[in-house]
Amino acid sequence: MPDIFPPALIFIAAAIVLPVLPKGNLRALFLLAVPLVAAHEIWQLSEGVTHTYELLGYSLTLMRVDQLSIVFGLIFSFAAFLALLYAWHVKDTVQQVTTLLYAGSAIGAVFAGDFVTLFIFWEGTAVASVFLIWARGTEGAYYTGMRYLIIQIASGVILVAGMALHYHETGSLAFGALTLGSLGTWAILIAFGIKAAFPLLHTWLPDAYPAATPTGTVVLSIFTTKLAIYSLARSFAGTEILIYIGTVMVFWPLIYAAAENDLRRVLAYALNNQLGFMVIAVGIGTPLALNGVAAHAVAHILYKSLLFMAMGAVLYRTGTAKASGLGGLYRSMPITALLCIVGGLAMSTPLFAGFVSKSLILSSVAKAYEPLIWAALLFGSAGIFYVAGVRLPYLAFFGEDKFAGAPERPKEAPWNMLLAMGLTAASCFALGLMPATFMSFLPYDVAYDAYTPDHILTQLQVLSFTAIAFFALWRFGLIKRPAPGILVDSDWLNRRLALAIVKLGAYISRNMWGLMSRTATRRLDAFLASIYRAHGPQGPLARSWPAGSMVLWIAVLLGFTLILSFSQSL
């Protein structure tokens, strides 16, 4: 299909052209046009291998098109459009260029047909995205960006090692279904797992996302983790261990999200929890489950972007996204408040996209007859609605008015942020309202009805009693506005414990060396002093140097030589 230009290259070409355009509305319009053109190109694609290239004698696949890659390519393009609209007011060329490169790399990876092409774009997402953290321009953001970059690059290095081992074993570089077992496939799984924020590999996510700029976090939330989910669905569908990894992901981050003060970090943990839903579905691996993965990736990108946008707008207008410094904002930011509530509802309420996608995943787990995993997902559904659908909007927009005595109340979000949030909310609603259209985009042709009375009633019960429990516990004082402070996660192990061990090792070796060198110097000094005492000008041997003594010793030596010679001649 030579007349179709690869969508990834559209973004990359636009990133090269962008700096020469004058800053202002023309550049902002150009930015908005790029993802729309790319989405149009993706829409025109037909299934099959459409673009190949040669590299170091290997024939590689730049574009492998099927329904799974089309779904991810389309949602990445559309989400990039929404994020760029949200960032219309940003005049920073670096952020604009890196957003295009980041989106282009993610879309390039989605269409990659081999591991070499995947690796190139995989690292492209890592390098481009870190600039969205550094753009905050503070010392803390610089160090956070460095930590993020090291982990993301490490993921790429492990991927290339896995790829090399896999090629050595099978002779294939194809980015397709893998069977877990060899060292190479394990390395590839770990590389994907880092970006998918598997347990203990996840800390880059709540560390980095709250450190980026208000608009940068929205962009970050779209691509990296969902690219990893796509890669897992492509290569490890039906891998049982993913069910258990995903279950831990559903539980563990929720507890942090329920206790965190920084509301953008709450959303980062909530994002981690929702990735768990998708990882479980990849592990189930049936066509229904994989449809659930694709559908939930789409829904999740939309509603989580909406929530990040709302918190970004709060940060933009008030300078903080910490619950301890917020409250009562609905008075001055009512539209943002309303759209944030819609974002919370879109996660799992009937008539919204999240309801359809979560029903798909829950049904696939139920059909696989996994009662414990199903119960974990039900817990995750209630929990995510509690932390991101009720607690987060309440802490930011309701309760005590923290700006009552301020000289100037925060203003409503700028028009572009409101428009982007409105379009995102409308998209969540449209997909939930037209499930048949939504399902028609999914990779497998599986009949499924999300809007059965059973699903609707049970889900509404879960949501309403979650909200009732929150408000009741709030009234009883069992839930409070969190105090300032951070929660230490497992990255304490490498940021504090490992550092302390290294410092202790350096201290011990430094002191051991000092002790050894002091002892050796003392011994040497004593030895030299004893020689000096014996042979120095005042030493006893120095005193016996007169000629008489010399003659005596020479006579002794001559006598000894004579005895030896005589004994040999016998």
Partner: protein, 105 residues
């Protein structure tokens, strides 16, 4: 001034002000009771036996919130540190973004 009656506020803010109080809670309780009663009026098609327990979903959701609140409290007690715990290597202890920084972003 009460947000519900403060005419200087936009209409949406006044509407939201009505929700910021007991009204929303009692509306939710009413909706919850009606939904819970549906368990007795409508026969669901359960896949797992435990789903057949009356008020299973309502109770499970409320219990999930309680578990999260308790676990979150324990985590805060165990793992909460000052905002400058990782300073200067994190943004947590940095002052709020200034207006010009927000415009840049």
């Amino acid at each position: 001034m009460n947000a519900k009656t403060d005419t200087s506020l936009p209409a949406i803010a006044r509407l939201l002000g009505r929700l910021d109080g007991r009204m929303l809670f009692w509306l939710l309780v009413l909706a919850g009771v009606l939904l819970a009663l549906s368990d007795f009026a409508y026969h669901r098609h359960e896949i797992f036996d435990f789903e057949a327990v009356p008020l299973f979903y309502a109770g499970f959701a409320a219990a999930s919130v309680l578990v999260l609140v308790l676990a979150g409290g324990i985590f805060r007690a165990l793992f909460k540190r000052g905002e400058n715990f990782y300073a200067p290597f994190s943004t947590d202890s940095e002052p709020p973004l200034k207006a010009q920084e927000r415009d840049h972003a």
